[in-house]
């Protein structure tokens, strides 16, 4: 089974990368861009077809290592 783990900065954490990307977009004339946040997407293949088991395992992995709970949150997407 394939899955995606999206790791994003918490909303109250300043994102220096997002800020610079936004400034660049504005400088290039994309004037309606108001906010940019840069996140990570991690593609994972699991050796199981059990969706529930996959989700539990990925949640543990994300909690332990993929995301830093101090600054980041995560979201898991299982592919069909």
């Amino acid at each position: 089974m394939k899955a995606k783990v999206f790791v994003s900065l918490k909303p109250d954490v300043l994102d220096p990368q997002g800020k610079v990307v936004m400034q660049t977009l504005n400088n290039l004339g994309y004037n309606s861009v108001r906010q940019v946040r840069v996140s990570k997407m991690i593609e994972i293949e699991l050796d199981t077809a059990d969706r529930e088991a996959a989700r539990v395992e990925l949640e543990r992995a994300a909690d332990k290592v993929l995301a830093n709970p101090n600054t980041e949150t995560f979201r898991i997407e299982l592919e069909d």
């Binding site: 220096p16 101090n70 600054t71």
Partner: protein, 229 residues
């Protein structure tokens, strides 16, 4: 004479300097490989700067699961002295021994230069010989040194006097102009509540002998020696 253990991860690049300074001061220093499962009877564990595991995922995130790090956590929880510099600081926040996290620098650039920091507390084994308010010139070299913590955590750091170093001007003024990386409250180094674990972005081992521009980093080693004597 004290015993220093310098931890070596794949990608550590300040391990030789971190070995060199304590050893020229007459201490017994040993390298400890990240795959080792025991420390070598240290008085001080030194987590050096560098790019452990290429900074993959997040700086310090993978090193945190090295076998030796469990031993370092155990050592620290028994009150052992742990000094994490630069990448070492990042590893310490990832382990949870120190609160907060180190994010990418405000201007997204790797900064390598001399930097003034103000000593905010002498009540640590690492700064015991230094007057509070002293300004030290110690080089920084990092891209992820932008310290952050939630408002509650910051308040706790302040209330407990856990902020050890803050970025400042040559005259000791802590201001945003003197902040190289956007670090919250100009924080350059903190201790844990037990005051036996210090994480700092500046590199004291790069400013601790006469052949280099500044000798100010030697003050940390002098403090440790005084504490351990």
């Amino acid at each position: 004479m004290a015993r220093f253990n310098v931890i070596v991860f794949p990608g550590s690049n300040c391990d030789r300097d971190s070995f060199h300074i304590p050893s020229i001061r007459g201490h017994e220093v040993e390298f400890v490989w990240h795959k080792d499962t025991s420390l070598s009877r240290p008085d001080v564990v030194y987590l050096p700067g560098g790019f452990s595991y290429g900074d993959y995922l997040r700086a310090g995130a993978i090193a945190r699961f090295s076998p030796i790090v469990n031993e370092i956590v155990r050592f620290a929880k028994r009150g052992g002295l742990v000094l994490g510099v630069c990448n070492g600081f990042q590893v310490l926040t990832e382990t949870g021994l120190l609160p907060g996290a180190l994010m990418m620098n405000r201007d997204l650039q790797f900064i390598c230069r001399h930097q003034h920091v103000r000593v905010e507390t002498a009540e640590t084994p690492f700064t015991g010989g230094i007057h509070t308010g002293s300004v030290l010139d110690i080089p920084i070299a990092h891209k992820e040194g932008n310290y952050t913590i939630d408002a509650e955590g910051l308040q706790r750091l302040r209330d407990n006097g856990q902020v050890v170093f803050r970025y400042c001007s040559a005259g000791g003024e802590v201001s945003s102009a003197a902040n190289p990386n956007g670090s919250l409250d100009n924080i350059a180094g903190i201790v844990n509540e037990g005051r036996n674990v210090l994480g700092m972005m500046p590199h004291p081992e790069r400013a601790a002998e006469d052949v280099v521009v500044s000798r100010d980093g030697a003050a940390l080693f002098e403090s440790l020696e005084k504490f351990l004597a």
